[in-house]
Symmetry: D2
């Protein structure tokens, strides 16, 4: 994996946090952006009963939603000022029941690109300080350049 990322927009954090704030679904779910640095982003989601599937775990859709946003913002940190980002596709394996106080989606860019950026996202379920890997995602995002 690439560990030293080239930053094209020094305001990446302001840009990422402003975009996150504008996502209605993050407010609806109660997600927060814990951390955003070049090529990485962490989004947390405290448990509540509105986020469940039929067994009372976090729904795979809730897990996917924060993982997808974490991946997108990790990618956005490396894009030029003024560009927008859209998810092209993602794939998620739910490797353990998402059961705990909160989920934390931790994204890392694997391959930044002018057009396409590929990231991997690990989602952990926390019970107090104890964490368990509950999902892994691979995601492709596309950069939409600023229109002249």
């Amino acid at each position: 994996m690439t560990n030293s990322f080239k930053v094209l927009d020094p305001d990446y954090e302001t840009k990422a946090r402003a975009s996150f704030t504008s996502q209605g679904i993050m407010r609806l779910l109660g997600a927060t952006m814990r951390n955003v640095v070049p090529g990485r982003c962490i989004i947390d989601l405290p448990f509540n009963e509105n986020l469940t599937q039929q067994d009372g775990f976090f729904h795979a859709g809730a897990t996917s939603t924060i993982a997808d946003s974490a991946g997108g913002y990790a990618a956005l940190t490396l894009m030029p000022a003024g560009s927008r980002i859209l998810t092209v596709e993602f794939k998620i394996n739910l490797v353990a029941p998402a059961l705990g106080d909160r989920l934390s989606a931790q994204a890392t860019v694997v391959k930044p690109g002018k057009t396409l950026t590929v990231s991997t996202i690990d989602v952990f379920a926390y019970s107090g300080d104890n964490r368990k890997l509950c999902a892994i995602m691979q995601q492709t995002a596309i950069c939409i350049p600023q229109s002249g």
Copy 2:
């Protein structure tokens, strides 16, 4: 694709609708189960501003959440009474911006199995009667048999 499905539990619809009702996240998003027949399920999601990403489209997570549930319930219709279902993994391509009055996730079982069931899900964005394909998903679900 397999088009004639073998039904093991005649109460499949009651079972699927009861399970759907117990998913907190479906209420939170405002999704409804429009149709459930053997091997198929349709889940609708009217637009509202709480479901958006940064450009005002439905968030990929909202699209994924209803697609994942539609796939799971399509699979559940073919499982024995008393069994539970969990998503193993899914992959989604967002092929067009999810922009419209409502989304509709339409799932079909491709390969039912005693342990694993594979489904594909098409998600359409409706603007009035006009519909546009906005996402396609492949999903694997696992049947957890009733414990003695």
Copy 3:
């Protein structure tokens, strides 16, 4: 799915067949391009013992290889003259053992695009005239425009 495709290069078949012929791995495996029309392509692979996994079935890699090429050439038929194509990513579910006289990978473009094209590919295992679905794939390909 989109069923009427816009053809930008009338020589799409010549272009696709020439590219196929230049793929060393298709010769090595013994694959043939059966059919290529706008937005669709079929690649066949007769069984031989060099294509097996440990149980004597076609290896998932053989299945994936022809499915990936079929998807790529289905996409290429819709691209402008002079452009090249690369696979961005794909996801395959192996839904039944790939056992038979031959495999046939049948690709359809779901969403053509100037940059990205998404296709689905069904792979059937044939025993005589009898066919069984053994794999389904979703694929994203990227068009590399002709450089000036």
Copy 4:
């Protein structure tokens, strides 16, 4: 990720190497199993012109084939004696052109399970000692228990 794996079959290496040798496609491609330890496996593939796509790179199918086998054997090392393994599904992102002297697919089990095992596989392209990440895969494999 889980880093300490529980070994159920002390003959895991003999079992994995014998299974690998029985895969016709590995001989056909010229792949070798470099290393297999509990929860990990590395498969190498030297370049030759029979493995190419239309631009002379390794075909995505060659990359996928060794990545799929590496993932399967990493999973097999953790399964009970007498069990067989099949790939359920995988997803691969081709993040850079696969161009070099050889490919090396390096698999790690992320979540072992009695029924399903999930692995991630990184594929590197080597030019001499220089390596470049060219693909990442997430894979699900299923354990078929020894029949009585």
